[in-house]
Amino acid sequence: MSGRWTWRLLSLPGVGWLSVFFLVAFYAVLCVAFGNQDTLSQPVPFWNPLDWNVGYVLDVLRNIWHGGQYLTVLLRTLAFVAIAMALALLVGYPVAYFTARHAGRFRGLVLLGLIVPFWINYLMRMLAWINLLSPDGWGTRVLHDLGIERLFLWLGLLSTRGGWLDGQEATVVIALVYGYIPFLILPLYAALDRIDQRQIEAARDLGASPLSAFLRVTLPLSMPGILAGSVLVALPMFGDYYTPDLVSASTRTNMIGNQIDEFTRQGSEKVTGAVLTLLLALILLALMFYYLRSTRRAAAEHAA
């Protein structure tokens, strides 16, 4: 047996596994989305693409075209993700920058502080906030005492005093930031850490002000990290349903994930759920491949 075949044989179980449980599973979504449902509204997939029924897909597209419920949910998802991503960058960039550049002898400790949340169960982190933000929780009291509650009420971001968990859009967005920001900070830190300090010194020596050295050297050089980190937080945010469920529990803050979850896992509209899943996957496909390409390029540079 030649060495070449040893390696292919080793790959076989993994390739087989992923083919069945990833590729075939995904094909099943397609066949359900382009299938039909029986009288008990259970999905009847059409396995042959020649038989595909476009009825359910058209229904969803028509709904979106006429500004129906799915459009509302999609736009809300986009808005939530965009705002949460911007906020996460606003908080995450200075943190990553400080850790990479100025943390000095505290660097290990700060890094630990950045990594630990990554490994604390997401739902436990949400549970923590649910306890804090319940009407008699410590967080609610602190926000009240600091005047933040008044500010949010004044800005119209909170509808009643102490009602942080009653279907507030602001709470959902901040919870999304809280939940996913570790995914942003770590790649950002890695990108900033890789920047050669001498390039910034060179810019300074050539007369750049600190601000313009930052804007014209550091920021552009950290762009791959910003983009990779943004994609890494955007992907799970787009598929999230549990965060709104937990911190809002109101249909007013439903994201596309909630709609899919209602239709597929909980409910009896699995065909429409499959269509929406497909739509979500299509929207995210570009982001997914962008990320894969950029990591591949980074790996190639790393090896070089």
Partner: protein
């Protein structure tokens, strides 16, 4: 801020303040949730004194409440099975891919990476439909949950094994080949021992990922007996539960962090600190 603009080589205080505030913001709420696991009373918001009641007490505790006990057992069962399946398959695929020559390698590599970037709900729906319509014989429940978890943990194992293989290089294998070792000896007696720290670490990461997984596990669950700890947190966080919920979350957290710390130490011992940090931050 202005001082920093004038002199960025000085200590930028405001950056330090933002970073400290961020780290506190991200950790203190969880710390408080853990604290309330030790609350003597039934409240999760008002402190009523210290007690181990919700861990070991005779009623409603993690140790004695049937629902909590079952959730913890099922979570650990899934994690064990997931590790047992995804580690060998993932190590083999990692080896195979790293040394793959000829066409097909790129495609397989992309296929392997896709589960890492696919939003979990998409995988959840896909696997749900797969087990409902393609493999109704398996159906939903424990086997489906294990399969689902293996499908996305596999890629992490592969990535970690490949990272270690890349830093080992090919010299050892070539030396073994020059000394006349046949391919399977190169693999079993040279590569695998060198890979051992990565294998242990990737098993630990797979264990932690399985323990923490929520979406795929929830989509593939069937009845109350297949409820895991994260599912329990989701289901009862908004209800009126007791601090036992905080207690069981704390237990799961301790298990996760202990597993990862152990793996981190093993890895650092054998493979060096920098790689270990990359590992801990799952820099894939």
């Amino acid at each position: 801020m202005i001082a920093w603009v004038r002199n960025p080589w000085g200590r930028p205080r405001w950056l330090a303040v933002v970073t400290a505030a961020y780290v506190l913001w991200s950790i203190v709420p969880v710390g408080i949730a853990i604290l309330f696991a030790f609350n003597a009373g039934r409240s999760r918001t008002t402190w009523q004194g210290f007690s181990f009641h919700w861990f070991t007490g005779s009623t409603g505790s993690v140790l004695h409440d049937p629902a909590l006990q079952s959730a913890l057992e099922h979570t650990l069962l899934l994690a064990g099975l997931c590790v047992a399946i995804s580690t060998p398959i993932g190590v083999a695929l990692g080896l195979g891919l790293q040394r793959w020559r000829g066409p097909g390698g790129g495609t397989v590599n992309t296929l392997m990476l896709l589960p890492l970037v696919t939003p979990e709900i998409v995988m959840g729906v896909a696997l749900l439909l797969l087990f409902l319509r393609v493999f109704p014989g398996i159906g939903l429940g424990t086997p489906a949950q294990v399969i689902g978890q293996v499908t996305f943990t596999l890629s992490y194992v592969v990535v970690m094994v490949r990272g270690r293989l890349a830093s080992i290089g090919r010299e050892y294998e070539e030396a073994a080949a020059d000394l006349g070792a046949p391919p399977h000896d190169q693999l079993l007696r040279v590569l695998l021992p060198l890979l051992a720290p990565a294998i242990i670490a990737s098993a630990a990461v797979a264990f932690a990922l399985s323990l923490d997984d929520f979406v795929v596990t929830q989509y593939l669950s069937s009845d109350a007996s297949t409820t895991t700890v994260p599912m329990l947190l989701y289901a009862s966080a908004r209800g009126a539960p007791t601090p036992a919920l905080n207690a069981i979350a704390t237990v799961a957290l301790v298990i996760t962090l202990a597993t990862l710390t152990l793996a981190f130490l093993v890895y650092r011992r054998f493979a060096g600190g920098r790689e270990a940090v990359e590992l801990a931050s799952l820099e894939v």
